[in-house]
């Protein structure tokens, strides 16, 4: 990449084969990405020239990867297919979309029911010979990391597709991960990596200031963005998210101006007004504790009715009586060593030497190590000893266990097919189980080995 601190504007770089006018339009749409766009254009070469078989573009979320590529391809009117790999749940869908975008519906219809890679290559070559490429064709694959989970050799084929279909074709892979995590263990052609660095604070400011509100001055909006970045830049550099937050809070920022309490130039006053508000937004709406709709509603109503109740404030879970005890028993089974069960749950357990019982390194470590798996028998044995009343082992007791599993309060460790002695783990936190046992008057701390 260019090492010069100030890259020349895109239209001043030399990119023969493309119209000046179009390059200018592209440059206008791509602020702060001149270097990358220029680099990409140089790699692409003139439209009719062959380009690299594959370019791998990577960078963090919202660093403009897809945007740059799409603007370039659209504005310069190059033949291309843009496909999100998230949407392609099968490779067949991917092939179909490529053919559809490059050769039209007829080509896509000739694909067999379950197309293999060679079917795809065959059909592509067939259509390529009918309509040879006058310009480089591009296949853009967004979220390319998902290709790794598809057919084993799909990725290595796509990397050298140019060679296989003998066409002027370039595959652009877009991902948030580095190429190292892609390399299949059979090895494959290395694509050219192209990194999109994160936007700097100044760049973010420049980009965000561009979407100013039509009825306010650009300066006001720029100063608003400055304040916003001052607060949010430390936690969030995602352009998309920042733009969203800016839109949500702008009306609040303008309130003193619209009400006539302050002038647009009164920056300090405006800052004092918005700052606590933005801090609150960081704890709530940014974390999606409060939805954007509710947030806007709250701004309109403007009543300080205590702290906000976000999503995670609701932790209370209603469970039937025996389910609570099953959960308690599961927690005990997960966090107590099995050999201590006798001490806790047998009434006349005889003498157990305290020194022998409390092994030094075992103590206090169980909660740090996390839940351990336990068999169903142990769960039931503990359950029957912690429940006061006599409980018949009916079907509904067992179905409550599976209900707890579906509610993700327990997890089944053994395979689902294993009917004989299934194993579970308890997946709830200490606070949760304490709250549950308080509702049934069960002192769980007394039964936990770690707290003895």
């Amino acid at each position: 990449m260019s090492s010069s601190p100030l890259p020349p504007p895109l239209q001043q770089q030399r990119h023969p084969g493309y119209e000046e006018e179009r390059l200018r339009r592209v440059a206008e749409q791509l602020p702060c990405r001149e270097v990358q766009a220029g680099m990409l254009l140089s790699l692409m070469g003139e439209p009719q020239q062959y380009s690299l078989p594959c370019i791998f573009i990577y960078g963090h979320r919202a660093s403009g990867k897809s945007y740059v590529v799409n603007v370039l391809l659209k504005e310069l009117e190059l033949p291309h297919a843009t496909i999100s790999c998230a949407e392609c749940i099968t490779a067949a869908l991917l092939f179909e979309q490529v053919l559809l975008a490059l050769f039209g519906g007829d080509a896509a219809a000739t694909l067999p029911r379950y197309p293999s890679l060679s079917d795809f290559v065959r059909i592509y070559r067939h259509h390529r010979s009918r309509a040879p490429a006058e310009q480089t064709r591009y296949i853009v694959l967004e979220k390319a990391e998902l290709l790794r989970d598809m057919d084993a050799n799909l990725l290595s084929v796509l990397v050298r597709l140019q060679e296989l279909v003998e066409d002027n074709l370039t595959v652009l892979l877009l991902s948030e991960l580095v190429w190292d995590t892609f390399r299949p263990n059979t090895g494959c052609l290395e694509p050219l990596p192209l990194h999109f660095p994160d936007y700097t604070k100044a760049e973010l400011h420049q980009i965000l200031s561009r979407d100013r509100h039509p009825s306010y001055s650009a300066d006001l909006y720029a100063s608003y963005i400055h304040i916003l970045l001052g607060i949010f830049y430390a936690v969030c550099r995602d352009l998309r998210e920042l733009r969203h937050l800016a839109a949500l809070n702008f009306t609040k920022f303008c309130e003193p101006v619209t009400e006539g309490k302050a002038k647009e130039s009164d920056t300090h006053k405006l800052w004092r007004n918005i700052e606590p508000h933005l801090k609150k937004a960081m704890q709530t709406v940014y974390l999606r504790e409060v939805s954007s709709l509710e947030w806007e509603k709250m701004q309109q109503v403007e009543t300080e009715t205590g702290p906000l109740r976000g999503l995670s404030a609701h932790t209370h879970v209603e469970l039937p009586f025996y389910s609570k005890f099953l959960l308690i028993a599961a927690y005990l089974a997960s966090y107590n060593p099995a050999r201590t069960d006798k001490r806790f749950f047998v009434k006349h357990h005889g003498k157990i030497k305290k020194t022998k019982f409390l092994k030094k390194n075992e103590k206090t470590s169980n909660h740090l190590l996390g839940p351990k798996p336990f068999p169903l028998d142990r769960l039931l044995a503990i359950f029957y000893s912690v429940v006061d009343s006599r409980v018949a082992p009916t079907a509904s007791i067992f179905s409550q266990i599976s209900s707890l599993v579906t509610l993700q309060l327990l997890t089944q460790v053994s395979h689902v097919d294993q009917l004989d002695a299934p194993k579970y783990k308890c997946a709830v936190s200490m606070d949760f189980i304490c709250a549950v046992s308080r509702t049934v008057n069960f002192d769980i701390i007394k039964y936990l080995y770690d707290f003895l």
């Binding site: 702008f250 995670s312 039937p320 079907a395």
Partner: protein, 639 residues
């Protein structure tokens, strides 16, 4: 919240239940048709009462508002909404118990279809193991809803399309992407009349969020993000707590959603309403005895939190089926009419005695009167005692009801202590009495009317009393009046005798708690054991019948093997076991134990091995690593 997943009942049993089935094996078959009709009416009434679902009305209404608002804001385009990231509106609907979810979601999607959008689809976790399946379900159902809702004119076209689809299922599976859905949606909106809401949202309901595979859900939401042309909307059904969403979805995904929370009523609240509607009312003629009620309530609280199971447990069918006199279990007028129509057997003769008819008339009337007085009184007593410290007579009205069903409430210790606690200060007592009068006011029965008048009277007296100094040792007028009131209440409470004391209570009350328990709370192990130890119970074959409870040697192999294994200790030697088995079987087939072939026949071995593995599958034995040719017993006891 929770609980207990039961497989979807194939069709409502009652709707397919015909009169023939009902009459078959029915006691007192003469009146069976009337009873069947009564049962049917009552059952339908139950269903409509519950399904009207006024409980969740508030939540559902606000949810509908939310969907409407979302679809409106989407169509507006001002600066803020352009700049805002396109979030998918999502309603997190907190529901307490899973088995009743279906009912709620059913009514929710109906409501949505009626008033907001025709495009509603609901999916369950178990049908969506992979992203592919989820997509397929969503697409299929959305398009199918359309088919069902289409007009007659379009039907031909759709049929043709369906034919095409069945001819080329290829394209159905290949085109399983949201872009297809987009196209479909665009043609839909173009076709629909432009007058009303032009872009109705597409609502996807995830019935049980917790059970969904996290990966599948995340991927699906990520895909939906790309489809900006489609006004999607999600509804998540959550049974635990809303923080589940945060556990399941990372920030990158949850930032695509605009989540709003909707909390439905707690399930105990739901139960209270159902009890109020179906049990604590004289309008519903069918009654439950204390024991049955106890079983149902404990099932609810201890096991499943399912209102649907509670209603199932009402045992209506069984009562009408097995109790010939249940023909009188209906409203007063109808009961009297039915009484006159009894025209067979003993009842015929009884009826012809004029004196008895008279008595019957009176008895039925009494029973009705009893119920008319019972419930208002119960409510009054509850109003008076439910706020006392430590709740001597229970906090919920159902607890008081249970006490009253069992014995004479005024004889219990709890009642005495409650009455002592009622010696309250003036203001509190007046407030309580006020509540009582409110309860009694609308009741039409004679006795309650007079009680109401008396109570009013006393209330007025209370209000006229001045706040005198209470220093004097003599009883103040207030204290006098208070003891009067308490005496009056005590008198009234004597109208709360348990129903068993009433003649003809069998007509209305269902008291077989054990059968309810058997129906609802299955005990698979007991039934397996019963089947193995007395196969005649399930296989009515004469040769299996034995007198002493032992297993006949003609029984199925597994029964014999089970019987033999009961005689063993913790570890069972397989060879000995097989020897014993072949002795029994050979004896049954009449073979001579001394012959050479004895016990060596291959098919006897094979049968034995099969029976043993069946036992293992049922969980009676398991293989052990201690001794290779032994298996371990997993049950105790035996011969």
């Amino acid at each position: 919240g929770c609980f207990v997943f039961k497989p979807n009942t194939k069709k409502k049993k009652t709707s397919s239940l015909s009169l023939d089935h009902f009459t078959h094996g029915c006691k007192g078959a003469e009146t069976s048709d009337i009873r069947f009709r009564l049962f049917h009416d009552l059952w339908n009434k139950t269903k409509t009462d519950i399904e009207q679902d006024e409980l969740n009305k508030k939540v559902l209404d606000s949810l509908l508002d939310f969907t409407r608002k979302c679809s409106i804001t989407r169509q507006h385009s001002n600066w803020a909404s352009q700049m805002r990231a396109s979030e998918i509106p999502t309603a997190a609907l907190m529901l307490v118990n899973v088995p009743d979810h279906d009912m709620t979601f059913q009514s929710l999607s109906e409501l949505l279809q009626q008033s907001v959008t025709p495009h509603v689809v609901s999916v369950q976790a178990k049908e969506c193991a992979a992203l592919k399946h989820l997509m397929k379900r969503v697409l299929e159902r959305l398009m199918d809803t359309l088919v069902a809702a289409a007009d007659d004119e379009e039907e031909e076209e759709i049929e043709a399309a369906a034919l095409q689809q069945s001819d080329t299922p290829v394209h159905r599976s290949v085109h399983c992407s949201l872009s297809v859905l987009c196209e479909w949606y665009n043609t839909q909106t173009k076709r629909s009349s432009p007058s009303k809401d032009q872009y109705p949202p597409v609502v996807i309901i995830f019935k049980d969020l917790e059970a969904f595979n996290q990966k599948v859900l995340q991927d699906f939401i990520l895909i939906c993000r790309y489809v900006e042309r489609l006004p999607l909307m999600f509804i998540f059904g959550i049974a635990t707590s809303p923080s589940t969403i945060q556990h399941m979805l990372p920030h990158s995904v949850s930032s695509l959603l605009c989540i709003e929370l909707f909390q439905s009523l707690s399930c105990t609240h739901h139960l209270a309403t159902v009890i109020d509607k179906l049990i604590l009312t004289p309008k519903f003629p069918f009654k439950l005895s204390g024991k049955v009620m106890q079983v149902l309530i404990s099932l609810f609280l201890y096991h499943d939190f399912s209102v649907r199971n509670f209603i199932k447990g009402l045992a209506l069918l069984e009562h009408f089926h097995s109790q010939p006199l249940s023909v009188l279990c209906c409203k007063k007028k109808e009961a009297l009419r039915n009484l006159a129509q009894l025209s067979h057997g003993d009842l015929e003769r009884i009826r012809q005695l004029p004196s008895f008819t008279e008595v019957c008339h009176k008895l039925i009337k009494d029973l009705c009167k009893y119920h008319k007085n019972y419930y208002p009184m119960l409510r009054c007593l509850h109003a008076l005692t439910s706020s006392l410290p430590r709740y001597p007579l229970g906090k919920q009205i159902r607890e008081l009801h249970l006490i009253c069903l069992e014995k004479n409430v005024w004889e219990t210790e709890d009642y005495q202590s409650a009455m002592k606690l009622l010696m309250l200060a003036k203001d509190e007592l007046i407030a309580l009495l006020q509540k009582c009068t409110e309860i009694l006011q609308p009741i039409k029965s004679k006795m309650m009317k007079s009680a109401f008048v008396q109570l009013e009277d006393m209330l007025n007296k209370f209000k006229q009393l001045d706040n005198e100094s209470r220093r004097s040792k003599k009883q103040s007028p207030y204290e006098n009046l208070r003891s009067d009131v308490l005496e009056f209440i005590d008198n009234l409470v004597s109208h709360l005798p348990p129903p068993e004391s009433q003649t003809l209570n069998e007509v209305c009350y269902y008291s077989s708690s054990s059968s309810v328990r058997r129906h609802l709370n299955a005990t698979p192990r007991t039934s397996i054991q019963a089947a193995l130890s007395s196969p005649y119970y399930y296989l009515p074959n004469e040769s299996l019948q034995t007198d002493d409870g032992s297993v006949s040697n003609a029984a199925p192999d597994i029964c014999i093997v089970h019987k033999l294994h009961l005689e063993c200790g913790r570890l069972i030697n397989l060879y000995d076991w097989m020897q014993a088995y072949s002795t029994v079987v050979s004896a049954a087939e009449g073979n001579d134990p001394d012959s050479d072939n004895f016990g060596k026949v291959d098919d006897v071995k094979a049968r034995f091995i099969r029976a043993v593995s069946e036992l293992e599958f049922l969980g009676f034995i398991k293989s052990t690593k201690q001794k290779t040719d032994h298996v371990a017993r997993l049950t105790w006891g035996g011969c």
